[in-house]
Symmetry: C2
Subunit: 147 residues, 2 copies
């Protein structure tokens, strides 16, 4: 077939077909995906070192910042990198100092494809999920693309 | 329809349909995507501060490490974060000290879907493209998912 001539295996094609792997995530809720992941979080008063440990341990490249049971911010690997430009000495720097306020959120019962739309629109790879204002976890772009 | 009942708009569906946006990238070569991006690179002797500037300016969350026109390593935002755990003073730390050797590479004329497979297999969001051993640029996961 033409596809085979262009270097496609049927496995490649299956990934993108509606009946294939990406198509399957269409039918999922965000909650089906957050349930697969760890739930990284720190308090706004956490030291940068604690932030780094939390992001590294939970393996999602991100942590939520939680105060009084509410999501007040997010810190990504990109935010840590940008901190390094402006901060000479990390002692005394807290999560509050480097977090992004009002992060992109999604309802835990939204369809997964909505999380992908948010990621594409904003050039981000993680979205925080909430339910009645409570932090429910993280959707990572790999949750949406992986077989 | 059932899909509409589950919260799908026809726009959502178009994203995942073979004739839709993700389907379109199937027909592209890696070279079509690397051409859209900046080409971050540093020498192995670059200071960490220069690495951070290069990653930030080129906006892909990553830089290649190039020596004698060859790709010898990669540094991601995740690698910078991990460096922060072990390094107390960044003065004197070079790209060579923190890079990952033998990064995941792809041929610039491979099909784009192959880049997605590499990303999913290894939990990475960027792949470096080469042509006859020469560094040709970066494919970012957003190049594969964005409309
Ligand atoms: N083409 C590539 C890309 C990456 N890497 C290496 O693979 C490792 C993981 O890549 P990463 O980009 O740092 O991956 C991270 C990580 O920290 O491991 C980033 C993080 O933001 C988040 O996206 C998590 C995922 O959640 C998976 O754990 O993944 C790094 O040592 C990187 O140098 C590589 O060898 N070749
Ligand atoms: N749910 C989210 C996720 C992220 N952000 C914020 O959006 C900004 C960009 O997110 P990022 O994850 O840091 O995005 C980066 C970035 O550094 O901007 C990471 C980098 O590895 C690479 O993936 C690039 C893309 O190449 C796009 O430039 O994107 C950050 O301030 C982050 O706090 C947010 O408000 N809400």
């Amino acid at each position: 077939s033409l596809l085979e001539m262009r270097g496609f295996s049927s496995k490649d094609f299956a990934r993108f077909h509606p009946g294939g792997s990406l198509g399957k995530q269409l039918y999922m809720r965000v909650s089906d995906l957050t349930a697969l992941n760890e739930k990284p979080m720190v308090s706004p008063d956490a030291n940068v070192k604690e932030v780094i440990v939390e992001i590294s341990e939970k393996m999602l490249g991100v942590t939520a910042v939680i105060e009084d049971d509410k999501i007040i911010g997010i810190i990504t690997d990109g935010d840590l990198r940008r901190m390094l430009v402006s901060v000479d000495n990390m002692n005394g720097v807290t999560a509050r100092d480097i977090m992004t306020k009002d992060p992109k959120l999604i309802d835990n019962d939204a369809m997964a494809v909505k999380a992908m739309e948010l990621m594409d629109q904003h050039g981000i790879t993680q979205v925080l999920a909430q339910e009645n204002g409570k932090y429910m976890g993280v959707v990572h772009i790999h949750n949406l693309t992986k077989e």
